[in-house]
Amino acid sequence: MSWSTFDTWIVVAGALCAVACALPGCFLVLRRMSMMGDAISHAVLPGLAAAFLLTGSRTSLVMFVGAAIVGVLTAVFTQWISRFGNVDRGAAMGIVFTTMFAVGLIMIVQAADRVDLDPGCVLYGALELTPLDTWRVAGLEFPRVVGVMAVITALNLGVIAILFKELRLSTFDPGLSDTLGFSSQLIHYLLMTMVAVTTVAAFEAVGSIIVIAMLIVPAATALLVTRRLVPMLVIACGAGVLAAAAGHWMAVAVPAWFGADATSSSGMMAVASGLIFALAWLFGPAGGLLAGIFHRPPDGRSITNNET
């Protein structure tokens, strides 16, 4: 195969999406709220549609704000329904995001003749087309998606660096967090805002399904490799970047072996992150299958009780 600047930009865009998603994704996985990314990335659809129908413009800023607001609302509604409706949080999430996704679909279909929003595009994104839409800043030309995702990645890195201690505390022990004066509710909504903004930004490039893979799979992979939080964040980002590069290569090279055309890069990136997860599951030193067979990790409950 021949590698062009196009391919490089696609990998860079995919890798930035992966890193931007993996950072909040780690905290979602640790909070056992993996499905929240799923919920938010689906529920933003009516936000996208409403923003378009209200303003008639498809400029990304308007769509972005509309979707981000709806994303945060998803977290708020889920919280309300589970608290006041006395429903399990997973069920509440299911109620909110399926309803909102359905509303979004109806809005798109109803306005189909006026709206240039293709459901297929919403699900899978259009990563291959990203190098065509470029920005020029200070004489440098680069794809718009790369610019947007670089900003989002920097924002997420900044928030996590500044609020690292608060995020760790409220994720590990929300009760203590509250008694120490760090409102776990506030931090929860901050994280949800981060997830919403990130999924909306990444979703344009890689679609709503792949965003979920990028949020959760690298984080889950990292948790099989390490039991430390900072290395977990680094490894999750690394796994995401690796999946982006390997995924695009697989999308271009593998079908060519069979004389077929290149397939969806974002789809293959999700497949690649699944493969990396499988490797970590087999060989990961912290909870991997082989680690469990050959080197039983010290288990709290199996340590004799009078050891001091």
């Binding site: 760790r168 022990d173 001091t308």
Partner: protein, 268 residues
């Protein structure tokens, strides 16, 4: 509501600021069913306080309501004369061990250092001073050598000691402990008792939810018997009586037998 009306309510203004915990007419209900009912309590400073009662008596609920972790249906709680919100720095909390995920990627030292977060405030990262304080607290509970372990790699007793060390690092004046003795080994039980005594010598007040009637009179000098309402509260010697235990555990025959046996052991 008048300005500062919550803290200045009649029930609380009566309580002087040297009383670590004053509770007035506290009721907490889940789904309209009261769990604790009309609780009035005054705990004097510097006591080791056992909170004892049957399962479902509302012991944990009482602690959580004092710390604003669950909403109060009615009533007031004063920590050193003021509302909990303004007295947070005075209070240390040891939750039940099952309340957190022990697979979480943190080391014992990281968890203990969380006790220093309030002094740090928002945004400031954990520094050398906080790590040293955490190390000292781990040393006091006898597991400084396990500081770098991920918390799943500790035994149940060691995990409990990590929680206690974290409360120590908070450097509070009044400690709320939710069943620190639950399912720990003998060595840890001893370490917890030594720690409680050390805190007591420094004039701290500890409120401990406790289950084992056999050890009540040797561990605590003040006792709160709770079964939805406060059955009795006072010095252990006066409060730990067969009549009070029967009122607290009423109906649960084998528990009363246990209690009477414990009482007999205690008076021997």
């Amino acid at each position: 509501m008048s300005p500062r009306g919550d803290a200045a309510g009649e029930g609380l203004s009566a309580h002087p600021s040297n009383v670590p915990l004053a509770i007035h007419d506290l009721t907490v209900a889940y789904h309209r069913k009261p769990v604790i009912w009309d609780v009035d309590l005054n705990i004097p400073e510097g006591k080791l306080v056992g909170i004892v009662g049957p399962n479902g008596a509302g012991k944990s609920t009482l602690i959580k309501a004092c710390l604003d972790l669950i909403p109060k249906t009615s009533g007031e709680v004063a920590i050193y004369g003021k509302s909990y919100r303004s007295q947070r720095r005075m209070v240390g909390y040891v939750p039940q061990r099952e309340s957190v995920d022990w697979d979480f990627p943190v080391s014992a030292l990281d968890v203990v250092a969380m006790g220093t977060y309030r002094q740090l405030g928002w945004f400031k990262p954990v520094g050398r001073k906080q790590r040293e304080a955490a190390m000292e607290a781990l040393d006091q509970v006898g597991i400084a050598h396990l500081a770098k372990r991920q918390i799943r790699q500790l035994s149940g007793g060691q995990q409990q000691r990590v929680f206690l060390a974290r409360a120590l690092a908070q450097d509070a004046r009044v400690y709320f402990m939710d069943e620190p003795f639950a399912a720990v080994d003998a060595a840890t039980e001893e370490a917890i008792v030594r720690l409680l005594q050390a805190l007591n010598e420094r004039g701290k007040t500890c409120l401990v939810v406790h289950h084992d009637l056999a050890t009540v009179s040797s561990y605590f000098d003040w006792l709160v018997l709770l079964n939805m309402r406060v059955v009795a509260s006072g010095p252990t010697r006066e409060t730990f009586t067969a009549a009070n235990l029967e009122k607290t555990y009423g109906g649960q025959l084998n528990l009363i037998d246990d209690a009477v046996r414990a009482l007999r052991n205690a008076t021997d």
